[in-house]
Amino acid sequence: MDSNKSANVAMLNRKPADENSKSAAKGNTKPKPDVNAGKTAFKNSGSQTAANKSSGGKFNITVRNCNLHYGDFHALKDVNIDIEENEVTAFIGPSGCGKSTFLKTFNRMNDLIEDCKITGLIEIGGQDIYAKSTDVTMLRKNVGMIFQKPNPFPMSIYDNIAFAPRTFGIKKKSTLDEIVERSLKLAGLWEEVSDRLNKNAMGMSGGQQQRLCIARSLAAEPKILLMDEPTSALDPISTGTIEELVNILKTNYTIVIVTHNMQQATRISDKTAFFLLGEIVEYGKTEDIFLKPTDKRTENYITGRFG
């Protein structure tokens, strides 16, 4: 257990992507990997193997005094939260309340937005993910994300799933086949597509595409899954399928889901956080939030008085 933990620490404890690739470049100019290839690279190796094998290790999320600004706009105000492992946590709230923005801080997708400033502490498994030493690519590998609109790549189903493993250097056909099959089975899609893995993914239905995106994330062997309104673009039947899938996946993954649909939150989540104007108004067990909210604003929202 102990060794696993230290391995995970090492995994997150890495240089930012740019620097990392530079050191990688340096390391790789030598024909054979040697001990002098660089400490960072060495750390990478140990950690990733361990990370892929270990199913234990802590992957809880701790946030303390998180503030986020888009230019002059104060999008998140002093947010604090503790998200437990292997639970489904739902973020609810009206549009523009900052719940999606907050979700994206967990895999640093906000890095893409210019003049987005984040202060405060966000830790995953005890590691500050905004520390200089964090390898963003490894962070994103461990913290998968499902987007609002299904975004399969315009390539075959197989290539979609194999994207992440290939990105991390797996080339062997048999290993890839195995990963593809396992991921598709986990996402409940194998039966439907096993005979057309080489067909373009864009030809699938919306619900299938979204499950393909989930399978694609699972192929990276993440520990946490972030879902940003994953069913808002889908019909009710596909929504039901995805919700069932979330219930199955939570035994092995920590899931954070942003949703506009309060029934969905009650159906699938263990804990719920209610966001309003960039703040968490209330956070607790889902049944508590919906049955006996302590804050008047939460009550108004869940009873449909605004939003």
Partner: protein
Amino acid sequence: MNKAYRFIKARDSIMRGIFTFCAVFSIIALGCICVFLFANGIPFIGRVGLTNFFGTTWNFNVQAYGVLSMIVASLYVTALSTLIGVTIGLFTAIALYKFCPKHLVGPIRQMINLLAGIPSVLFGLFGMILIVPVLRDYISPTGVGYGILAASLVLSIMTLPTIVSVSLDALNAVPRNYYEGALALGATKEQSVFKVMLPAAKSGILAAVVLSIGRAIGETMAVIMVIGGSPVIPKSLFQSVRTLTANIAMGATELSGDAKTSLVAAGVVLFFFTLLLNISFSLLKGGEKREKKRASKANI
């Protein structure tokens, strides 16, 4: 009142007729071009015979009008210039797409577009005063600077702006959520661009390639000044040869009679190549549209 109304009605239909004529003018012009070209070129080919016309000997003193060596030279020049131009242009587009600092992209794009405005005869001149002498003095094993390599270099510079701007547009048209999806899976910026965005833009990029092939095969003035002009089958990159277009332009000022009609026949061959490229270009465009439709359908 009634009179005024009738006047307006009449004016409307007259103008409508004029506008229609203007629009149909393109069709008429295209029709005329085809008729004149074919009516003069094809009988000529029939008269001298296919074996003569598609033979390797070009000597109008003995009525040998073989254009095979020119077709081969044209194809070599087009292939090599496209290869060079696409390599440089595509990578340039990729750099401008995601890797260049944002504030430099606009100016660099504008500078490359400047190239598109330079008359082709000036590229020929540039090739004549710089590329040919450099090749002759430093690179060519035969001591000849003229030839396929010189023409290809000149043409690849010429087609650069087309390739850069069409491929950059194609890349920019790829939905951004592919990029985000790739990053969210742990890919680096470079991996996302090369493994996801680039393949997603492939039909647009292919269109750029076809467009540049069209420009290369049809270009005359830039080629004529650096190609040399000998009507022989090319055996080396550094050897005076003659492309179809160069043949037409060179003959235009020197020949008369039957020999001049042979240029029309060469033009028919060129026209045929261009039509092929046009058709494949519109097919590719159609493919791009279909892909976009599919992407937008998926995003509903």
